[in-house]
Symmetry: C3
């Protein structure tokens, strides 16, 4: 991943593409049960806040533990979960951070069952680049049914 | 947004990225109830045609009024609507206009409810650039259930 | 489609964009019933394997015949099918081939009916460029309900 002049159209397109690929890789990790590797896509002090949770998860170890619990529960119930992030809008901030707003759907499929939409949400991220990798510094997820 | 040489691979990728981001921003406006700002993403004489409507909405004010009515109705019913546009294919036309064909899903979630697929459609746009912004000149939406 | 230096951020973004557009165009063909044109998006000896099928379809003519059968069946039942590919992760391989991993949803809508999620899958492709066009050399589709 190369540092790019994002003031050009091609440079901004490269940033946007990196965010799309980052989201794909990040969710492939979670949806295949690699909870600890998923937590590594947050900064060491990263925050994951969701209106479905009583309080935010702060820090990789807390995020990893919460993800591990959820992943193990899905495995025990024989359900394949898939997170779809889309409708991504990327904005550069002056401080080198990137704001990315998207929609997220959670699709769940049980063995022998039909896929079901479990949740529709908005997702607002602050992304930062560390050692050539994109990481989530802050994620705010809002489930539509709790809106 | 920079004017770009779209005859290069990087230039065409920049155009494609701009369309993706435009779709995201446009639908974020509609899905958060900003009907009038949403109408501003059409040209002054823009057309919104749908096989679910008896006749096309022509012109920003007509498009805004129709969107406002729908938005207010969703708010009154406590339903969060989200438009997902995807599977985007972009083609440049010789006249500086851009044809973009995509799929669109409408996902609706009521308070305390489960997300539901309300509509699956195709969406065929003619996009133009005015003062550095992309705008919809013509949109043709076809709902699959009426096909 | 131009050969591009994918070692730059803009070059890799162009590759990613080409894969996105290829997926859109490919699935537009299948979902509008153009089974034979769809088969042309595979290499002559392309392989389509799915855990829902007893054995892989190998070669364009076999892929076309299977797609034609499915397409005709959907038409007979009055169902519009749409394939959504998303969460795309692209990796270049040293041999000029490209690995692309994504999620795929199948949405079906009958006349007068509501859209339904028919299948949630992962899709792992090997893509190659022939005469300036991307083609699928190998596709592995895994339906989540059979996982």
């Amino acid at each position: 991943m190369t540092v790019t002049d994002t003031t050009t159209a091609a440079g901004f397109a490269a940033l946007y593409q990196q965010v799309q690929q980052f989201y794909a890789e990040q969710m492939h990790l979670l949806d295949t049960g690699r909870a600890e590797e998923w937590a590594e896509t947050f900064t060491e002090d990263g925050v994951f806040a969701a209106n479905a949770h009583p309080e935010p998860a702060a820090g990789r170890s807390v995020i990893a533990a919460a993800a591990r619990k959820a992943v193990d529960d899905y495995v025990a119930r024989g359900i394949q979960r898939r997170h779809w992030l889309g409708m991504v809008s990327v904005t550069e901030r002056g401080d080198g951070e990137v704001a990315a707003s998207c929609y997220a759907l959670v699709v769940e499929t049980g063995r022998g069952g039909r896929p079901e939409l479990r949740a529709s949400t908005s997702c607002d991220d602050v992304l930062v680049r560390r050692d050539g990798r994109w990481l989530v510094k802050d994620r705010q997820v809002r489930r539509d049914d709790l809106g």
